[in-house]
Amino acid sequence: MNFALGKYVPYDTWVHRMDARAKLAATILFMVAVFFPMATWTMTLVAQGFLLLFVSFILASTKTRLRSILTSLKSLWVMVLFLLIIYVLVPKATNTLGVAWTWNGWTVYWDSFAEAARVIVRLVMMIMIAMALTSSTKPLDLTYALQWYLSPLKPLHFPVEEVAMTISIALRFIPTLLEDAMRVMRAQSSRGVDFAHGNLWKRITGLTSLIIPLFVSSFLRSEELANAMECRCYDPREKRTKYRKLHFRVSDIFLLLAMAVITAGIITISAMKIDFFALMGIVAL
């Protein structure tokens, strides 16, 4: 099974070495920046181009292979087609880029294509930044980061540590359960269940023969795991010490600041509808 998105790749780059909390915050800041609209199309091109370069640089730094980036973007073409159809059929009231062509009294504007392209570029950037985060950060470190951000909720009796423990156990058991699923699938196939052929109904009923044994085995596993944890003195209500600790370094603060400045800049330009080209006396689109 191939999940390009969300798979940790153990390299040793500066992105990998960064603190998970800084990376998580920077990712969210970047996603915010991506979504701010610009006053004109040229400004959009400049802003989105800048962000695209930025995220490409980060992703390249994590040594993620171009092929795995392309594989995870592959499924986007359905989205491209869908957006194009929507934007061509429902054009906006103001179109600044002009008419592409008219056909039988139906006008197609260039804006529709630009609009679709903008949404796609946004999505691509979101996927790229998420890839950069997940390929350079161990799931467990992400869990710790999440736990750290949620820790202010502790006085409100929000079970922060239990949630983090649950997530880390869920992550730890993904490969085990996948293995289980494969084993059940092979066992059922050898008994004549066909998962790949037949009509939809047949395939769905075939799937139940996979899901039910998987459920049963997961419940058995969870009971045994709970016993094992209890025997090793685990008590969610008691205080525990921590083996893993995240380290915030100067470089983390630096990158977080840089990201904050970029996001703040984008928001300011967007909110004040600043057009660099107009300021320089160039009339742009």
Binding site: K138, R172, P175, E224, L225, R240, T241, Y243
Partner: protein, 272 residues
């Protein structure tokens, strides 16, 4: 000194399904016990009772001089370790180091002390090179060794192995049993209770307990227990190879001296 006293222990899951009846035995400090018996004889339930996982039992369980109840549960549990059968279902951490650390975190060992404890017990169980590995990258035998390291790191006085080798291949099985013997040599005060199907393992124990239908049928040194081959056969258990062979030879009229205790000695004697 007795570290465990079990008196008249009975346990039933419900009114019709009684699992343990009037089980009494005691465990002495520093000895290696093997508990053998058929599937469904109540071996694992007994282990669960000792760990305080089944609290609705009748009778007394006294561990380290303390009766097993809600009040003493934490202090008793922190002195007993258990290694279960399924290597996957007791691996809590996401890496080997995290899993060994899990028990330490629960016991509130300060973070500064953890790394040296983890390194120490990973080395003792031969897992020092694997500290960063995830469980999916380890074999069953390696996972069981991690489980043992995790248990040892908590500094227990009693370790229970609940069929810890039954899901392993022969090589992994042998490695785990050798590890247990090595641990015993290093920690003379450590008591081990191994629940097992493997009679060859039981032959190397200090004492053997035989369970059948929820009761302790026999308890004694391996040579005493396994000499009662007919009693074992009656409950469908076999004795280790040496005892089976010796019984078969005696049946055919051979006289075998008392001081012959292993298959090798027997071979030498027969060849003479």
């Amino acid at each position: 000194m007795n570290i465990a006293e079990i008196r008249h222990l009975s346990f039933a899951y419900n009114e019709t399904k009684s699992v343990l009846h009037d089980v009494s035995f005691s465990l002495e400090e520093g000895k290696y016990y093997c508990l053998v018996g058929h599937n469904g004889s109540g071996k694992s339930t007994l282990a669960k009772c000792l760990m305080g996982l089944q609290s609705e039992f009748e009778g007394d369980i006294i561990l380290f001089g303390l009766p097993l109840d809600r009040k003493n549960l934490f202090s008793i549990r922190s002195r007993i370790g258990i290694v279960f059968q399924n290597p996957d279902n007791q691996f809590v951490g996401s890496t080997v180091a995290d899993d060994i650390a899990f028990g330490l975190e629960n016991k509130r060992i300060p973070r500064e002390k953890m790394q040296s404890i983890i390194d120490d017990f990973a080395a003792k169980t031969g897992m020092a090179e694997y500290l960063d590995r995830e469980p999916s990258m380890l074999s069953g035998g390696q996972k069981q060794r991690v489980a043992i390291a995790g248990v040892l790191a908590m500094g227990p006085d009693l370790i229970i192995f609940d069929e810890a080798t039954s899901m392993l291949d022969p090589k992994g099985k042998k490695e785990i049993i050798d590890l247990v013997h090595q641990l015993r040599k290093e920690n003379p005060g450590l008591t081990i209770l191994s629940i097992t199907h493997d009679v060859e393992e039981a032959a190397r124990a200090d004492e053997v307990l035989v369970m059948n239908k929820g009761s302790i049928l026999m308890q004694g040194k391996p040579e005493e227990v396994f000499s009662r081959i007919d009693d074992l056969k009656a409950i469908h258990l076999s004795a280790p190879f040496f005892y089976e062979l010796r019984a078969a030879l005696i049946e055919r009229g051979l006289k075998i001296p008392e001081d012959i205790k292993t298959a090798e000695q027997l071979e030498e004697y027969l060849c003479r």
